[in-house]
Symmetry: C2
Subunit: 272 residues, 2 copies
């Protein structure tokens, strides 16, 4: 399982707004990654679950807001998400989807109208694109972005609060930075709780069960230079890993890096 | 030179408000420390300088707001500070004062009416009492408070921005805490820029020129336990040390721990 920062392929979707991006995707003209498209528009991780599991998952998100920042939840069977986008249809508006049965990947498609059921509930979760932009806008360099790599992600010993069938450890992303930038990054990201919020840890990785920073569980390792601290944020891979561990009879997610582009603006997520 | 967290003697002044505290002090009924008096009322560091130096010092504070958070400045020769307290008279309302000539301590008195001059300008600077209360209210334990010690303070290699005759390195205070509390402490103290604001450093002390945390330049050493980070804030000792280094022909300060109690409430200092 991977989150929104992974899987970027070649080329990019050139759209100015969320509605424009979704129309191109819906018309079948784009099935690639969404990195860089519709600048300043919020993109989201997608998880679609049967209503029988939706209550548990909603409670899981409510109890674990840092790894599971919920941007929107649909009515059962309703493919629209009016708070996230005008005329949004979750069955057609994501570039590519993964179909899962009992925790096993069974297919990857660009349209899920044939898989739609009256009991499916869509969850859209905040993604680190928005908060990475906030950090960059604050003048904080992000090494993995500068080096064109995926962010480094690690399983930790930080427990999540379980809900029904959903439980498991928190996955974190790590960005190395100077102490002054780490202090500034806490302030900047604390203002965006809808995209993971303030860090969950900084400094000694062994204190959260990470044995070797150079061996991430997901993504790419980056150097931590002398005078830098590793700073750890709750990661959107957490809910995906928790859902897969629960092996739901049916589940649909976005394909890595191919996100739902919403009508929300990044600035709407920040409180001041 | 010491700041507001030092010099607490025995007993305490029992007053509910700033105006009540200042009336007791003005009446000559209290010359001790002000720790714990008038709960939730802002206390300030006091520096009184001749007008010939006041412009330089005001610019120094403006250029170095973290170590020199200015709460109020008087008109030359005017002993009132109407924005900080009703009926406040800086000549009588501080429990004890120190008189300095050319950087040398020449006396300690409880009333400066005999020393007053028409060219004196009073500066009141934020003190860490307010931000320590904000940290404690946020559930962050402070070891030096729990152990009844003075906070540990260190000269650093972080330069201040000079102004006229005033220049010198930043002095910081250090509080050890877990990473989770350090992250929370950044958020809590960023909201109170009028009392030093967010930390200036955390983690490796050698990066800011501190050789040994167990040998503070001022105050008392406290243990940094396994799993804790040292977190460093700009300290109100900085302007005092900078003023003394400049050896002004005349200067009056509060005596350590014997602060000006204002009518401002701690909560007035926080933005939300």
């Amino acid at each position: 399982m991977t989150n929104c920062t992974t899987g970027a392929g070649k080329g990019s979707l050139s759209a100015k707004t969320g509605i424009e991006a979704r129309r191109i995707i819906r018309a079948g003209e784009w099935s690639g990654h969404t990195s860089g498209t519709a600048p300043n528009h919020v993109q989201g991780n997608v998880a679609i679950l049967p209503a029988s599991l939706a209550g548990d998952f909603l409670r899981f998100c409510q109890r674990n807001p840092k790894p599971c920042p919920l941007l929107g939840v649909s009515e059962p069977g309703d493919p629209s998400l009016p708070t996230l986008g005008a005329d949004l249809d979750i069955r057609t508006d994501v570039p590519a989807y993964r179909i899962w049965r009992h925790g096993e990947l069974v297919g990857e498609v660009t349209d899920i109208r044939d898989y739609w059921r009256d009991d499916l509930v869509t969850f859209v979760l905040g993604c680190s694109f928005s908060f990475e932009q906030a950090l960059i806008d604050a003048g904080i360099p992000l090494r993995h972005v500068l080096e064109g790599r995926n962010v480094a992600m690690y399983r930790t010993n930080i427990p999540t609060v379980p809900a029904g069938v959903f439980h498991g450890p928190m996955v974190v992303s790590m960005r190395p930075m100077t102490a002054a930038n780490a202090i500034r990054a806490v302030q900047v990201t604390a203002r965006v709780p809808a995209v993971h919020g303030a860090p969950v840890h900084l400094g000694d990785p062994s204190l959260i069960g990470i044995a070797d920073l150079q061996k991430p569980d997901f993504g790419d390792a980056v150097a931590v230079l002398p005078g830098e601290l590793p700073v750890f944020w709750a990661c959107g891979v957490t809910p995906q890993s928790v859902v897969m561990e629960a092996r739901p009879e049916f589940c649909i997610t976005h394909s890595p890096g191919k996100m739902l582009v919403t009508d929300l603006l990044d600035r709407d997520l920040a409180f001041s």
